[in-house]
Symmetry: D3
Subunit: 287 residues, 6 copies
């Protein structure tokens, strides 16, 4: 491709770059984008580009498949209740090891290798994410986030690091100090609210919110909270999407400017969402 066209494309991204400079964006990273090698490499590049143009980026990752793999390897069965993993003591140990020890540090290493600066943390570090154990006994060490103390994140961001966060919380109340398994989308939403982020971006394995789940052409590009709730009332939101939609609503109602549900199955969706005219997926706004 000609250099001239290259330059034009860079310039095309300029207004978006100018807009996001100095702002904070919290990305929930999960699904196919974490498994597929090319997609993963593209996400890492996107994160570094975001950091280069002055965006303060926080990455919250998932890790279901890796947890399943390790549970299986240790002869432990994966069970789920209401979308949450049944997390007995032994499972919690595996969850913590896989998320905080493997997935988290691997992503951190990839960012460093690509020339970025990353620091791998979880909710236990500085007791950054405090959670209490859910009441449902069957679910075990599953937590509900009570409070996010953003100070350790601010220290890291101010020192130029991209924090990479595992969704493992510091337990409070009856399980004071015990690690708890928390939902990564929720963790991302609560962190975004605590940081007063400009954007919360949830990377998923679907296109966004669809009017008709079976029709990709029915993607809704923009949606206010009110419109979203109205769709929900009419049962037009798919079951799997509901918790994600609720995370977005929480963020929007707590100071985050925009929330996005984007398709992580395509390469560079973060850059496309941030730096092109059309964006990608569904954008949610407060009003």
């Amino acid at each position: 491709m000609e250099n001239k066209i290259r330059a034009q494309i860079l310039i095309h991204a300029l207004p978006y770059i100018q807009h996001f400079q100095g702002k904070t964006i919290v990305v929930k990273y999960g699904g196919n984008a974490m498994i597929n090698y090319e997609l993963k490499a593209a996400v890492i590049q996107d994160l570094i580009m975001m950091s280069c143009v002055g965006i303060r980026t926080v990455l919250v990752h998932g890790g279901g498949p890796e947890i399943d793999y390790m549970l299986k390897k240790t002869g432990k069965e994966s069970r789920f209740t209401k979308g949450f993993r049944n997390t007995d003591k032994e499972t919690m140990e595996i969850v913590q090891m896989v998320l905080c020890g493997k997935v988290n540090k691997d992503i951190t290493g990839l960012i460093q290798q690509a020339g970025g600066k990353a620091i791998g943390l979880c909710g236990i570090d500085g007791a950054m994410i405090k959670a209490s154990k859910v009441k449902d006994e069957d679910m075990g060490f599953v937590g509900e986030v009570d409070e996010v103390d953003a100070s350790i994140l601010l220290t890291a961001l101010d020192a130029g690091f991209t924090p990479v966060i595992s969704p493992v919380a510091y337990g409070t109340g009856a399980v004071e100090g015990h690690p708890l398994n928390i939902n990564a989308d929720t963790a991302a939403a609560k962190i975004a609210a605590a940081l007063g982020a400009e954007k919360l971006i949830l990377m998923t394995d679907i296109q966004g919110i669809l009017k008709d789940v079976n029709d990709p052409a029915s993607l809704i590009k923009t949606l206010s909270i009110k419109e979203l709730l109205s769709l929900k009332d009419k049962n037009l939101i798919s079951k799997g999407m509901i918790p994600k939609a609720e995370c977005c609503i929480f963020a929007l109602e707590n100071g985050v400017n925009k929330a996005h549900i984007i398709d992580g199955r395509l390469p560079h969706t973060l850059l496309i969402e941030l730096f092109t005219d059309e964006g990608i997926g569904t954008m949610l706004t407060a009003v």
Copy 2:
């Protein structure tokens, strides 16, 4: 164009963006790129993009045609000796007015309008550029740069501004405090040295250094000081290029990492030079 390709092109620029982050680049802006409206708009965009990705940019501008126009308008003849304008008292007043008052503030305004932060200065501000009057009486108030005090530039850069500099110096010695007309290429080279810049970029109306001035295909892409001096000895450097080459040598010998002579007649040459594989024009290196 597809978003996917847009993203790839952004990513293609990433290693260059990473490399230049936090570094200082001094650009001499002149020739066609200052006259042609589209070229000018493209330079402004390039400067803002450079600033967005964390490059500390200093712009030193020329302004010959605007000076000629104004001299003519006031019934004053433009005369030159050895490439320097004969600058009697009246001419110096016009030079100062046009450069510091018109050209400088217009560029500053354009950067602001495009969403950047700019501050228009000249060598008189904080006596940033001190010069002494050349001995040749015929040349009048033409100065040779003695010393650059970079402190006002550092204040501006640290506060996030792009300094836009007119090549008008604060006279010392016999003309203490009197404005002096200085060469913009030299001013840029001395400023680059004083700032320990990564790069000095001279925008010109030629392709770069050519083996054969009449053959565009003879462009020399890279040249060490030694090679350059050898070409000069063989009279293979065009006369007009010699002072520019000397500015580059001064910069390279005083701590600047690379010096470039690029073709300002093309749009976005700054971005192309900085953010593509091939670069553009001639790159000079110390060794």
Copy 3:
């Protein structure tokens, strides 16, 4: 004179020096004090003394005669409507060149030469002064100040510079980015308000506000806004004084502690106003 008396006079100024330390004073510099060589030198000395005793000084200058001179030189006629210069495109270019390029940098150079630290700016730098075009089409590029962004001034003052400001604004609205000609008194008043200055001082070619314009002995030394408005209602304020009085009222109503109309035809009026018992000219207060 005996050293003993010299010391006594310095000590006499001490309470005033103590009072103004660390405070901000905005001076509108114009009229004879800009033209007469001795007066100009005295103003420069006064500014440096103010800076030495810790006063954060901002100078806003005029430049009518220099503009007239240059307009004439380029064969352009000077026309005025309601006290404002009819500023067509060509005139605006001359205004900008003369103010920002000539007058501004000359004053900056004089302060540097006298051992001070000065930086020459205008409303375009950092878009410090935003103005919109007046509706009266005949007046051309004349602006009304909408907003002053003091951040560039604070950066300069904190770094120890005396900002010297040309009354040329950054146009907004229909003329986004276009330079606009603004009134220097108004610019000074708006800047004083934006900085929460202790004092606004307008240097004029009259003694101050007189009860009887023809009787120098009728100088009013102190006047509250209320008293001033009462005089105006009785048509006891001369026509030329009204806009200056309105600038003072604006400043006083927007956080400036005191406003002064002083006689710039005498040397060292700034020092006399600030550091002697009687002061000079007319002092306006909010109540």
Copy 4:
């Protein structure tokens, strides 16, 4: 016990507290002190006390037993060559998960629970510990530490956190970015040198350096490098002690003031070493 005696004991510790204020101490934490519940609780308290009296403490932990347990659970055999674990790809994953995910975050959580501020990191974070793969192919992903970049540790210490470090390095050279298993004693020694620490303390499961391994009464309380090398030449240092002794020598030769080999099988050995007259274990000094 009487309050009076309590007070006397606190006062007895005062000169030591005064001496260590503001200094950096790097502790290698391993062996029984990591397994036994009471000992672990005592170490945590000691760390918090150290932090309370202004000591900048860095903890480098081991985790052999937990790794063995997990390897066994996943049906993987633990093999060792020359004291180093044979670390094939699969083993390295377990090592990383157990150290960075389980042991590290558990210690971090315990410090937080006891009222301290801790942050769990490994050599991958900010590429803090760079290592190259050992040449011996059988050993797999075992690394030799090349370089410690202390900046992330300084950021954490300055923000009041106690860094808890897993001995997993960021691979360089042929294994760029790949995690490497490194020796915890070596990691602690290199970190101590990089921080210019006052002390390196290695917690072990022996009393210290003994003249006669079978005679606890033969403990050597103080030893210079010279004396240590002399003992080694005479084969009077036990085989297991040699690598620890070498770590101490490295630290002492690279700016660390004192190195200690202490007995982690007793509670509060850190406090006893730091805050009592006799200290505990063997103290090594440069001369």
Copy 5:
């Protein structure tokens, strides 16, 4: 004593140390603890320990016996009215000399000698304590504290010094600039309020507040303002205790968290109060 027990006692103090870190404690130092050599040495050690564990300590001292001794030596009689020293001009000179020159600098020297950092100040320095002369003419230069300007104390505390304060004020009103003799308990209470201290501790020569002055077993350990006022109404507070109680009430009503009246006749009462379970003396709380 065994090191193990030493360690346990240090650890026993840990929760208290954690609690008081970074907090401000103002101690009024007087009575026997200033006269007895061993008690004095113990107070100095306590102050250094407090400083070592991060408590920002301010010491306000008395000095009655030293004043009496000096007055006697100069042939001046000590007279008191309503608990206040009759302070004529000559007496005030002696008070000032003894407190600011002798007692203050001696304590400062002792802290330095014990390895601490101290600075000896009085209310005159930076006009830190402004007071007005009491109306009762007989009492002479006795002052009532109007205002405490804590800025000089914050400068000293931030630089790591323990301020040692003499109860001599800077007179205002009719005695502008004249030193005034003020009550040390009151000075301490006002300083504690100005600093928003965690605690005010008054060291006395009694056990604390007793239900029955003649029965040491009747010590009241905790008392709210309400309870204290109720006791006072029932005349159950001894006469000498009333002004001290009022100082405590002032502090508690002005932002100080707790006030203590402790027995300075025992060694290390400060450490015992701060770092043991039972504490010592009487603790007063707002509610």
Copy 6:
């Protein structure tokens, strides 16, 4: 006097004010200027003026007459050996009380009253001046200055205070922690050296260094160290002047730019020395 002349005199001082801005000047204050009420008031005004124009001023005071008065009052005889006061334990107490408690705080109060910011310190505060006891047993607690730790002075100067220093040192060696009586001129010289002061000014009760002690017209205005030593060799320096001359030489040989011996019997000698063309007294220079 006319305002115009007042302004001229202020302007006359301007070059001196510009020269001394931001520089440090150490003044030894003693003799008549401390006793006479008008002279004292003038010195205070001079100090405030110096501070207002940005001079970092440190005042070291004497206090012989006040000490004599107090010794007499307590029935103690004043005895001198070789110009030093015989300072037995009792005398040392009086010296410390009078200097640190009375003279120091009175000067501090006067500066505050005149609108300045002062802090009264002595060599004990922060152990700023360390001295060892002279060997001559008869002289008692007289010290020789070993070392000045300027950090407490820098803290005070940076916070905008004028430090007022009593010549009482913190004893080291055999008298660790004991106050020692030191010579005020020496203290000033050592402080000036420790601060790298621009000037040391010794206020005396003579005109300066005279060629003929009986002829006021024989004042030597400028003297290099070499010239001074030559005069001394020829016994042309009066006996009382020799220690002062030696203080000046010490300062000049340790980084102080200029030393002055001025006549404190005239009002405003500090201002006259600093801010007039002729200066006053004798100026000593290194070469």
